[in-house]
């Protein structure tokens, strides 16, 4: 049977199933109609009887029953009901079990709540979540514009708020991503904007980066790894996207931060990160860095990545290749420097900077990388020019 104790895991999988099979509008409909109306009938009946006060009492009781680490506040004077979530049990289940089937699990809350509140003559006026288990929101009577509450419990004062990547909603509408040009509210569109061009070059750190023909550099967009960026490697241009490695540590973050802060604003890359649920949350702003753009939504949407709970995940260079394949419309995609620690020269890093004993770490595997590169090859077809070597070279349909 489908139980309730592991519900959140297959809830996430359900969103992905509906989105993949029937499209974005279908998942919005699932949230609004099935979840927000049918399943939440008890809250709708309560809200119709007792209004915001009834919802406040019910959710406060739920919090006690389920030991939720949250604060609910009702300001009866301004008719604002607010929550500050310190550790979301729902997203927390996914993080604890290394689950990430759908492209954006957290969006479902706005999806069903806006529908339910609409039936009660209420609406969500403000909401933010950071995909790490922290969020807040304020709901009030439709047609009113009360000011935001000032509270000691404001989750944004909590150090955990600095982790993850933030999405903001205003009256149920997702707002453009903070700090990114173009006014896009979709992370995939933000990445596509940074990678738009005729030619895309994706560089790992292996010796085969030297094989990249100079003709490939002309008019190209450049994607590199965080470790290459931090180590001071130089290219013919400033990178357009830097993918922060998973796992990441203080030294690497400090290195990325140093180069990023020294670069002029026109030379600063778009930072991206996988935000794998198995990895500890990282507070990027504490290193003087903007919160990187998540890459998994793009990979999942393109059907290029299925997260394997507790399993090995791609190396950073291969994640970059997946990202390029998922997002770019470039006429040519050149991938080099992904050599699987097996370049015929016996050299591991093209620029000689890196751990002397570099080899496959337990969180990665050659099979996972090979399989991912095969998908990249199949997806890009004749647009791909793959210059990697070793076992990686056998898989993609390369045209050097």
């Amino acid at each position: 049977m489908l139980g309730c104790h592991d519900f959140c895991g297959y809830y996430d999988w359900t969103f992905h199933f509906i989105r993949r099979e029937f499209g974005e509008a279908a998942v919005q409909s699932l949230w609004a109609d099935a979840i927000g109306q049918d399943s939440q009938r008890h809250y709708i009946e309560l809200g119709l009887r007792e209004g915001l006060k009834g919802l406040f009492e019910a959710w406060r009781q739920t919090g006690e029953d389920e030991q939720c680490d949250w604060t609910f506040t009702l300001d009866a004077k301004s008719n604002v009901l607010r929550w500050d979530m310190r550790k979301c049990p729902s997203k927390g289940f996914l993080l604890a079990h290394d689950l990430n089937a759908d492209e954006d699990y957290c969006d479902h809350c706005m999806g069903w709540e806006s529908s339910m509140l609409g039936s009660l003559g209420l609406r969500m006026i403000r909401h933010e979540h950071n995909h790490s288990g922290q969020c807040w929101g304020e709901m009030t009577l439709a047609g009113t514009e009360p000011a935001e509450l000032t509270l000691e419990a404001d989750i944004r004062k909590d150090p955990r708020w600095q982790t993850g990547f933030v999405e903001r909603f205003d009256r149920h509408i997702k707002l453009p991503v903070l700090g990114q040009p173009g006014g896009q509210s979709d992370w995939v569109a933000v990445l596509a904007g940074a990678m738009a061009g005729e030619r895309l070059v994706i560089l790992g750190r292996g010796p085969s980066v030297r094989d990249l023909p100079s003709a490939a550099q002309s008019g190209s967009r450049l994607l590199v790894t965080g470790s290459a960026y931090a180590s001071g490697e130089q290219w013919w241009k400033s990178p357009d996207v830097v993918l922060v490695n998973s796992p990441v540590d203080d030294t690497l973050l400090a290195g990325i931060s140093a180069r990023y802060s020294q670069a002029g604003s026109e030379h600063r890359p778009l930072l991206a990160y996988a935000y794998l649920p198995s990895q500890p949350p990282v507070a990027f702003p504490n290193y003087g860095l903007p919160r990187p753009v998540p890459i998994l939504p793009a990979l999942i949407r393109a059907n290029l990545y299925v997260h394997d709970p507790r399993g090995p995940f791609p190396t950073t260079g291969v994640f970059l290749a997946l990202l390029g394949a998922a997002v770019s419309n470039a006429r040519e995609v050149h991938i080099a420097g992904i050599d699987g620690y097996a370049h015929p020269s016996g050299v591991t890093y093209a620029h000689g900077v890196g751990p002397a004993d570099a080899t496959w770490q337990p969180e990665h595997s050659p099979e996972v990388d090979q399989s991912a590169l095969a998908r990249v090859g199949a997806h890009l077809g004749s647009r791909l020019c793959f210059l990697g070597s070793g076992p990686m070279r056998d898989r993609p349909e390369s045209q050097p």
């Binding site: 049977m1 309730c4 592991d6 099935a34």
Partner: protein
């Protein structure tokens, strides 16, 4: 954490998929859950056999509020005696209209998992109490317990 109101969501999601996309889509959803989402559980069943299936379900139902389920072994088969189905009980106690095909989710989710593990799945009863049998299949897809008996096709 167990929140029995999540059973409301399952009931609503089944109804939504059935009414909007049809019965085939609903079965595809359930089968995908068993084959893909529960792939690691099914792999454990394959490794550990019927005893592993029994142990897994015992642990699973211990987490489900108000469930009354006995799990036994009968030869090479694992049998679940569901005396009180926690989902049906909570839906009924809460006055919810239960979709008439609610119990079929067990058939398709469990059959898909069992198929991966080399077992068949069969349910008798339903809507509150039932018996669920997981029996090993031969490599030809026949029930081990049958001698030259009827072939039981594996799910795709």
């Amino acid at each position: 954490m167990s929140a029995p109101d999540f059973y409301f969501v399952n009931n609503a999601v089944f109804r939504h998929i059935h009414d909007k996309y049809g019965r085939d889509a609903l079965i595809r959803y359930w089968t995908g859950l068993g084959r893909d989402y529960y792939a690691k559980r099914a792999a454990l069943w394959k490794d550990q056999g019927a005893a592993g299936i029994a142990t897994d379900w015992k642990a699973y139902f211990l987490e489900e509020p108000q469930a009354v389920v006995d799990v036994t072994m009968e030869g090479a088969a694992a049998i679940l005696h569901v005396k009180v189905c926690p989902a049906i009980k909570h839906l009924r106690d809460s006055g919810r209209e239960i979709v008439p095909y609610f119990c079929e989710h067990c058939d398709h989710v469990c059959s898909a998992m069992a198929g991966v593990a080399g077992f068949s799945f069969a349910r008798s009863g339903g809507m509150g109490s039932c018996e669920q049998r997981f029996e090993p299949l031969t490599v030809e897809g026949r029930l081990l317990s049958e001698k030259g008996g009827t072939s039981h096709a594996r799910l795709p």
